[in-house]
Symmetry: C2
Subunit: 184 residues, 2 copies
């Protein structure tokens, strides 16, 4: 699969990709091993600092890796990766080296130890910003500290989990700026 | 605009509509007045109880209405409402009666005092479940206590905010159930 080269991207604009609600792949690294999980339960919380929250169920192998290191990368997969996204979400890092199993490329990040998944359209390096909700809700608030985004396409075909093994694929983009008093 | 009649719907399946990340309209009612705001920053947090969290900036007129009453309705608009969704998000309930201004129909809910927006595909009645994050992050955790969903279409053309006045419209639905060990 070809993917246009990723460029540095303003962290406060990461929301343009995450706010529409795509499934993401969370990569982590702990004790010499890397792992990946599929996640649909996240939302933007602030522009600057660039905060995003993720509900990472404690049953996931990634949970302790992220809690202990306080780091992860949020990677944005597209339609061409739908099979892999599904498979990644249906096996556990305690049994499978998911990078090897699914032929994904772990690329060193710049700030965190967790790897970027090179096949994804965008990769957002994250550090835990607030863990106050982790015990009660498995809820992490991350700060995106570095963003890498492919130069094109401008509107990647992200996939949005609907439950029951189905995904909605990103469709047309419409512009309603004319009705906005302040655009952000 | 015609909209098929809404039916009762299992609250724990509300996520099928919210998890893909659509913009929603939040309706509230306090001191005899109803209001509506547009919101894109939400995510599912649990199946049962059916929990969803919403970042409602304290600058919104709806914020105090929801904080004081502990109630709201999350309404799911579709493409035909994109202009209204934009306009609702660009004026304030302190100056405008948004139901009247935009010709929306406030229908009584069953459990909460906040009204359903009848023109929307689905309406989820919510009560505040945990307000521990409201002071720090304007972050409400709601329990969906009653769900109303139109019988068709099965896959409504939801709109997903991207920033800059643009929305992604829900596209095709793909099925990858074959790769799921446990479907939910």
């Amino acid at each position: 699969m070809t993917r246009s080269e990723k460029r540095d991207f303003p962290v406060e604009e990461a929301r343009h990709f995450l706010e529409p609600g795509p499934v993401v792949l969370i990569s982590s690294h702990c004790d010499g091993a890397s792992n990946i999980m599929t996640l649909g339960w996240h939302s933007i919380l602030a522009f600057a600092p660039s905060l995003v929250n993720c509900m990472i169920s404690s049953g996931n192998h990634s949970f302790e890796m992220i809690r202990r290191t306080g780091e992860c990368v949020i990677n944005l997969p597209t339609l061409d990766l739908a099979d892999i996204v599904s498979k990644v979400g249906n096996c556990t890092g305690s049994e499978v080296d998911k990078f090897a199993e699914f032929g994904l490329t772990a690329k060193p990040a710049e700030i965190v130890y967790a790897p970027l998944i090179d096949e994804c359209h965008a990769c957002f390096e994250c550090r835990v910003y607030d863990d106050a909700m982790v015990n009660n809700y498995n809820y992490f608030i991350f700060e995106i500290v570095k963003a890498h985004v492919a130069g094109d396409p401008e509107h990647p075909k992200t996939i949005h989990y609907m439950g029951d093994g189905k995904f909605m694929v990103a469709g047309d983009v419409i512009d309603r700026k004319e009705f906005f008093t302040k655009v952000n």
